[in-house]
């Protein structure tokens, strides 16, 4: 189980890294690998070359000294230690003479023990040789030369400190170069991924705008033929979508327009007849009541349909003005219900300012309240909250709530919850919530329904605030 959880976590991590991050990472790792190999190779080559060069020049120097020494040793010069001392200061070089098993050194600090035994053996057998050694952490070059005839051997130990310092500087510069290359690689990756993803980002923005109802948004076709194809198909799809939606909206609008004038006549005429209600017998009066209520219902239905089709076709012109959220909601609630319902305001919500079409947003509030009354057994609570740039208008009821699988559907036209299948008297048109959804969308907001903690439904309208 542990292994699987671990796997799962790793899997998620991998999925969480976006294309952009991955490209950047790949470029950075590539640059790092490449620059590291270049650094290692060039360091090693430079080091080998520099050491070889130094060795050659020090060997030359040693042979010169050896020739000088050979003459003196042959002559049995007693000043040999002074000569050895004069060959070099102890810091840069030390000199030794091995004659018949006895060491002679120029300086006191020159300890023959630092000489490698292997080198001594080679020289005593009559061959010149050199070996890299380390004394007290610093690298040195030991060179041994047999002094022919005399049977003595001459050793010199040179400090390579200077060379070492040069190599260190070289190594540091190379490391800095590697780091810069890696960084540049990462930047190149980031930039390249941005280039690659820019058209996608544009498409995604356009898609979001279209989903938000702005069907006139199009993607600018890129110069690049590969990307232009994506843009073109995307635009073609949007064209088709817009065309189709506008056709639907035009149809609904045409139907509603045709219904409008006769309905206007009906509404007025019924009103005139209704004023003489008392002159009728009971059956006629009942018929008149039915006629009045149905004509009103029908007129409302046609108006709502027309309103929805206008928003869907993108031809609704909103009359926007700034209002105080608290005052607006309080007034909207007061004007839509006869009984008093107070609005719970959180402290910050009081000063929030919204940019709204007053008439439309008032319909949103009154439709939610009427929905709570007809399908939720009455309004339990209306509240206004303000958080991170949005205002939440919540209408809660004590009804049966809305099942999770119907929470999106109920905002579609003519869809009702299971609990309210039958059409009650004045039960709303089935357009109330979809009109809410359309109006809220036109305000760049969102509406959804959720469960109340103690049962019932909670409808939430989220709107962006101005201040």
């Amino acid at each position: 189980v542990t292994a699987r959880t671990h796997e799962g976590r790793r899997d998620r991590t991998r999925r969480r890294l976006g294309l952009r991050k991955r490209l950047t990472l790949i470029f950075a790792v590539g640059a790092l690998t490449l620059s590291t190999s270049v650094v290692v190779i060039s360091y090693e080559l430079s080091r080998a070359y520099l050491i070889r060069q130094r060795t050659t020049s020090l060997e030359q120097q040693t042979y010169v000294s050896a020739r000088l020494l050979r003459a003196r040793v042959r002559a049995g010069d007693p000043e040999i230690p002074a000569l050895l001392a004069s060959l070099g200061p102890g810091r840069t070089s030390l000199h030794y003479l091995l004659d018949e098993g006895r060491w002679t050194t120029g300086l006191d600090e020159a300890d023959p023990a630092i000489l490698p035994a292997g080198l001594i053996d080679v020289v005593r057998q009559g061959h010149a040789g050199h070996q890299l050694i380390r004394v007290g952490g610093t690298p040195r070059l030991a060179i041994g030369v047999p002094l022919a005839e005399s049977g003595a051997s001459y050793f010199a130990v040179y400090s390579l400190e200077l060379l070492n310092r040069t190599l260190r500087v070289l190594a540091n510069s190379l490391l800095v170069a590697a780091a810069i290359t890696t960084l540049l690689g990462a930047i190149a990756g980031w930039w390249a991924s941005r280039r690659v993803l820019a058209p996608l980002a544009e498409v995604s923005e356009a898609a979001a705008a279209i989903a938000g109802g702005r069907l006139d948004v199009r993607v600018v076709a890129d110069q690049d033929p590969d990307l232009a194809k994506v843009a073109t198909s995307f635009n073609r799809m949007t064209d088709a979508l817009q065309e189709r939606m506008q056709r639907d909206a035009r149809f609904a609008s045409a139907v509603s327009h045709e219904l409008r004038s006769p309905l206007a006549t009906l509404v007025s005429s019924v009103e005139v007849v209704g004023a003489r209600r008392h002159e009728f017998e009971r059956p006629a009066r009942e018929a008149l009541d039915l006629l009045e209520s149905e004509v009103t219902h029908l007129a409302r239905l046609v108006e709502d349909l027309l309103e929805i089709s206008r928003i869907e076709a993108g031809v609704a012109d909103l009359v926007m003005e700034e209002v105080r959220a608290a005052e607006f909601v309080t007034r909207a609630v007061a004007s839509s219900v006869a009984e008093r319902i107070s609005v719970d305001l959180d402290a910050v919500a009081r000063d929030a300012v919204l940019r709204v079409d007053k008439r439309r947003l008032e319909r949103v509030v009154s439709n939610l309240i009427s929905n709570a009354k007809h399908h939720g057994g009455g309004v339990a609570r209306v509240s206004l909250e303000h958080r991170d740039g949005v205002v939440l208008i919540c209408v809660e009821d004590d009804g049966p709530g809305v099942p999770a699988d119907e929470r999106e559907q109920i905002f579609e036209p003519f869809v009702r919850g299971r609990g309210a299948r039958h059409r009650g008297v004045h039960g709303g048109a089935g357009l109330g919530l979809s009109l809410v959804a359309e109006h809220v969308r036109a305000h760049d907001g969102h509406v959804w329904v959720e469960e109340r903690t103690n049962g019932g439904a909670r409808f939430v309208v989220e709107l962006p605030v101005v201040t």
Binding site: S253, R260, S261, P262, L263, A264, T265, L266, V267, S268, S269, E271, V272, A275, A299, E303, L306, E307, R310, V315, A316, D317, V319, E321, E322, E327, F328, R331, A332, S335, K358, R359, E362
Partner: protein, 227 residues
């Protein structure tokens, strides 16, 4: 005395039903089926209020409003479709006092008509004269003079001016003005106020684009500048 309403509407059935509603309210209705007819009837017979549809064949509602405004300050109520909400502003600019969205609900229509008539006949809440800059407002006789010259205002413009001039220096919100002048509640269309203020400024300000008598207070409303 019955209110004389001139009803200009091209759809015969709609016109007949509106006539019935108006007659039921006790008004005397003159009908016209076109803008040209309507103007002819208006010039021929005395009218207390004009109810005109914006969409008319030939001379449309805007034209009718402009023509009537040239010769009279009679209250004009326009009928407009909801889908043409910018028509509302155009109609108000052409001289309409208020509007009703079609299909007109009888209750709303009669409420609007009554509010308009009340404005026309209403005795002002404050009597006497009010001064605002170089304006002299005689509240009782509904006369406005600017440096002695009479200024022709419609009744709506006059009411609007009175509301503001009576409390110089105090900001009045659009909602308050809508309620006091038009009789709307909080949800009334505040473009009514904005357009009428604009028209009023054209008549009383020296430079309508830089008003000195009635100034806009951003986000709050309007204020008559104290002298």
């Amino acid at each position: 005395v019955a209110t004389r309403v001139l009803l200009i509407e091209d759809d015969e059935h709609v016109r007949a039903s509106l006539r019935l509603v108006l007659q039921q309210e006790g008004s005397a209705v003159c009908e016209a089926a076109s803008g040209e007819d309507g103007l002819a009837v208006f010039r021929r017979s005395p009218t207390d209020i004009v109810l005109v549809d914006i969409m008319l064949p030939g001379a449309d509602g805007f034209h009718v409003c402009r023509e009537i405004r040239r010769e009279s300050d009679v209250p004009i109520l326009v009928l407009t479709a909801r889908s043409d909400s910018h028509d509302v502003v155009a109609a108000l600019e052409a001289g309409a006092d208020d509007y009703v969205v079609k299909p007109a609900v009888p209750k709303e229509l009669t409420a609007r008509l009554r509010a308009l008539l009340r404005r026309a006949n209403r005795a002002a809440s404050v009597s006497g004269r009010v001064r605002l800059g170089d304006l002299e407002i005689d509240v009782e006789s509904a006369q406005v003079r600017q440096r002695g010259e009479p200024v022709a205002l419609t009744r709506t413009e006059f009411r609007l001016l009175c509301e503001l001039a009576q409390v110089p220096g105090r900001v009045m919100s659009r909602e308050t003005l809508l309620e006091r002048v038009w009789g709307y509640d909080y949800f009334g269309d505040s473009r009514l106020v904005d357009v009428h203020i604009r028209r009023l400024r054209c008549k009383i300000e020296e430079e309508a684009s830089r008003p000195r008598l009635i100034v806009t207070v951003r986000g709050l409303g309007y204020r008559a500048q104290p002298p």
